[in-house]
């Protein structure tokens, strides 16, 4: 049987189980006296063991088997977890993960599992306590002969038969169908022991012929030898059972409703649909020019079908965030331990879904933010007590669906960022006006997110928020998202990442400026108003309009892009909203809405940092995509 076809399934499912193990171990560590997680752990490890054995991955099977033994002892004893045991189980889980990954790529030989295996063994031996005396093998005393046509049946199971006790019981059941069974030797209880060697006898009160009895007993499978006593008449076994049933030629397709699909296939489909959407745009333009009702009709149908197709594919790419979040509890726990901090870590909104391509990019930025939260946000227990806080800090990772985007926040209740120190540094490095009195949250983030912003000092003496923030901001912006920061001295810090739900195809407003067209994804568009109708005002030195008591600073795209000539007297303002930030983009004209296929884009040096990509319009001409994050 070719097993390689199952390797990916094995890997994916093992990862899920091992990820669950992490969570269960963390649960247990939090409430060591409550052994509830042990059953789940046992089940997960057991499943991995079964799969690995089937794949022929000896080392995975070995570690899993020993871990399972230990868990079994813990489960039976309902013991509280000791720190030592938990550490060992964490190690075993990690070793399993490592072994699984290496085995799948055929590098199992590189593994050295001796140490963890030895530790598991000795822990199990310690728990099992002094060896219980093995049940004494029952003496092969002939049971008293039962009255009637009672005959002695002696059975030997094949030496290689697994779980001989179960097989013996099946043989007994088959015999029972022919008559009453008595005097089972060894007693049935021995069938449950692993020491059972596969030899047993019983008395059967039946009028059936010896051959019939033998056939019945053999029907249980794995029977090497049967003898049916009939006045001392003992029969020997005939030829061994033939090979298994021949496989039928044709496989019947199974009716499972789920299949696993290689992500690359979905990517390919997405690319194709992207092209289809572009061509659809061209078709619509051509149809509009033709004014032929028949062509219009087809164009409309194609539009509808491709929209459905696109929605279906995007749905298929949606993945719940837990697939990335699930590794963080363990990470936070390990880091907190290492730094002697106490952290309660909570995850909310695990089931929120995002395009797989976006989710895949989120791991690292979140990792940076969480690391910073534990390392620099949360204070030591002693410091927290001094400040009148509970010694255990809290970090929350939460996902929330907002309009067409998902907000993911990392919040801690730690010491907050020291604005004064950052301001001082920012002034010294010329990042803000030398006379700036305070940093707003936005300015703070801008300063922290500068790749050049030296954090060497900040790391040790301030809060070190600079570490990795530039990486996170760059990554999130590249995905068409944004980061916001809120921080309050002594109370904590919270980062909010906003991301579009999907990347590949978005609905966008098409705006004209000069002779060019620009696309602005609708994800962050709140509304449009007309410039010249709304009175403008100056707030903090910037031109702005007031919309329902909110100040919306304006950005004149024409000016920003250096387009010569005059803007029309009245022109539309596109109001963007990103979290609590907002901005009004003044353009020359609105050219409608359409689906655009986002193509990644490496801006040439010196390009304004307001473009996130490019797209091909229906007429085949390119248009730049404006980055909402860079405009608000």
């Amino acid at each position: 049987m070719d097993l390689s076809q199952y390797a990916e399934l094995f890997l994916a499912e093992s990862r899920e189980h091992l990820s669950a193990c992490n969570q269960l171990l963390l649960d247990w560590e939090r409430t060591p006296a409550n052994p509830a997680p042990v059953a789940g752990l046992f089940r997960a490890v057991h499943t991995v063991k079964g799969m690995a054995a089937t794949m022929g991955y000896g080392r995975v099977t070995d570690i899993a088997h020993r871990t399972e033994n230990l868990l079994d002892l813990l489960r039976r004893g309902s013991r509280p977890a000791t720190d030592e045991l938990l550490q060992l189980l964490f190690r075993a889980r990690d070793a399993l993960e490592h072994a699984v990954e290496l085995s799948v790529v055929g590098r199992e030989d590189e593994l050295d599992v001796a140490e963890v295996v030895a530790d598991l063994e000795s822990a199990a031996a310690l728990l099992a306590g002094p060896e219980r005396p093995a049940p004494a093998p029952t003496a092969a005393v002939e049971p008293p002969a039962a009255p009637g046509r009672s005959r002695l049946v002696q059975v030997t199971l094949r030496a290689e038969a697994p779980l001989k006790g179960g097989r013996a019981l099946l043989a007994l059941k088959r015999a029972q169908a022919l008559g009453a069974v008595q005097g089972v030797t060894p007693p049935q209880a021995a069938f449950e022991s692993d020491d059972f060697d596969g030899g047993f006898s019983f008395r059967l009160d039946s009028s059936a012929a010896a051959a019939e009895i033998e056939r019945a007993v053999r029907g249980a499978g794995d029977v090497e030898h049967v003898s049916v006593g009939a006045g001392g008449d003992e029969r020997r076994a005939a030829a061994p059972r033939g090979a298994g049933a021949a496989a039928a030629a044709e496989a019947i397709p199974e009716k499972s409703r789920h299949i696993r699909v290689d992500l690359r296939r979905l990517d390919e489909l997405m690319d194709l649909i992207g092209e289809l959407v572009t061509v659809r745009g061209r078709l619509n333009e051509l149809a509009a020019a033709r004014r032929d009702p028949a062509v219009d009709d087809v164009a409309i149908q194609i539009s509808r079908l491709s929209a459905d197709l696109q929605a279906g594919i995007i749905q298929a790419r949606m993945t719940p965030v837990w697939q990335v979040f699930d590794r963080f509890p363990r990470l936070v726990r390990d880091l907190a331990r290492e730094l002697d901090k106490q952290v309660a870590f909570r995850v909310e909104g695990k089931e929120i879904e995002l395009d797989r391509a976006i989710l895949d990019e989120l791991g690292d930025p979140l990792l940076h933010l969480l690391r910073n939260a534990v390392d620099h946000g949360i204070e030591t227990p002693a410091e927290r007590r001094r400040r009148g806080k509970p010694p255990e800090g809290e970090i929350v990772l939460a996902a929330v669906r907002e309009r067409a985007s998902v907000a993911i926040s990392v919040s801690d209740d730690g010491r907050g960022i020291d604005r004064a120190r950052i301001l001082e540094r920012a002034r010294r490095e010329g990042l803000v006006d030398a006379h700036a009195e305070a940093l707003s949250d936005d300015q703070l983030l801008r300063v922290l997110a500068r790749p050049g912003f030296s954090t060497a000092e900040a790391v040790t003496s301030v809060s070190g928020r600079g570490v990795g923030i530039d990486v996170a901001v760059t990554r999130i912006r590249a995905l068409g998202g944004s980061i916001d920061i809120r921080t309050e001295a002594g109370k904590g810090t919270s980062f909010v990442l906003r991301l579009p739900v999907t990347l590949a195809i978005v609905r966008a407003l098409i705006a004209g400026v000069g002779r060019e067209r620009y696309a602005l994804p609708l994800t962050y568009v709140a509304e449009t108003v007309e410039f010249g109708v709304q009175p403008t005002t100056i707030v903090e030195g910037r031109e702005a309009i007031v919309l329902r008591n909110r100040v919306v600073p304006l950005v004149h795209l024409r000016r920003m892009l250096g387009v010569s000539g005059d803007a029309p007297a009245r022109c539309p303002i596109i109001v963007l909203e990103m979290g609590e930030r907002t901005s009004g983009i003044v353009v020359d004209g609105m050219l409608g809405q359409q689906e655009i296929v986002v193509k990644g884009f490496d801006p040439p040096q010196g390009t304004l940092p307001v473009f996130s990509g490019a797209t091909i319009m229906g007429d085949g001409n390119p248009a730049l995509i404006l980055d909402a994050g860079g405009l608000v």
């Binding site: 049987m1 199952y6 399934l9 094995f10 499912e13 789940g40 046992f42 089940r43 057991h46 499943t47 063991k49 079964g50 799969m51 054995a53 089937t54 794949m55 022929g56 088997h65 697994p162 779980l163 001989k164 006790g165 179960g166 019981l169 099946l170 059941k173 069938f191 449950e192 022991s193 692993d194 059972f196 029907g219 249980a220 499978g221 059972r241 090979a243 298994g244 049933a245 496989a247 039928a248 044709e250 496989a251 019947i252 397709p253 199974e254 009716k255 499972s256 789920h258 696993r260």
Partner: protein, 120 residues
């Protein structure tokens, strides 16, 4: 007409493998269950000729599921899927009414032998 089978295992991997082995031998996989209680429910709906049942499953374990199914249908033909070292559990499952068992790692020929015995 081919025999119908309900495959119960919490691991997709195992379900896929058992389904493949049986489908290639001409059986019709009519359903899958991930937990014991799903197995009981699906047995009621599908009335399959054969059930393959994992022992260790979340929610309701395989042995309890066997008890429930046999209560509904004393003639249910259930094949336990066990692992090495589960002697006591296998014995319990048979006492509960399972008709046979196979041991992981599965060899297709042994699975099919066991299936023949159960359906025989």
């Amino acid at each position: 007409m081919s025999h119908t089978v309900l495959v119960c295992d919490d691991a997709i991997f195992m379900r896929t493998m058992i389904s493949d082995i049986l489908a290639q031998a001409g059986f019709e996989i009519v359903g899958e269950a991930e937990t014991g209680s799903q197995a009981v429910e699906k047995y009621r709906q599908l009335k399959p000729d054969l059930v393959t049942m994992d022992i260790v499953m979340p929610d309701m374990g395989g042995i309890d599921a066997v008890r429930e199914i046999v209560k509904q249908d004393p003639d249910a033909k259930i094949l336990m899927c066990s692992a090495m070292g589960q002697q006591a559990l296998v014995v319990e499952a048979i006492q509960a009414g399972a008709k046979d068992f196979v041991v992981k790692p599965f060899q297709p020929s042994r699975v099919l032998e066991a299936v023949q015995r159960v359906l025989g």
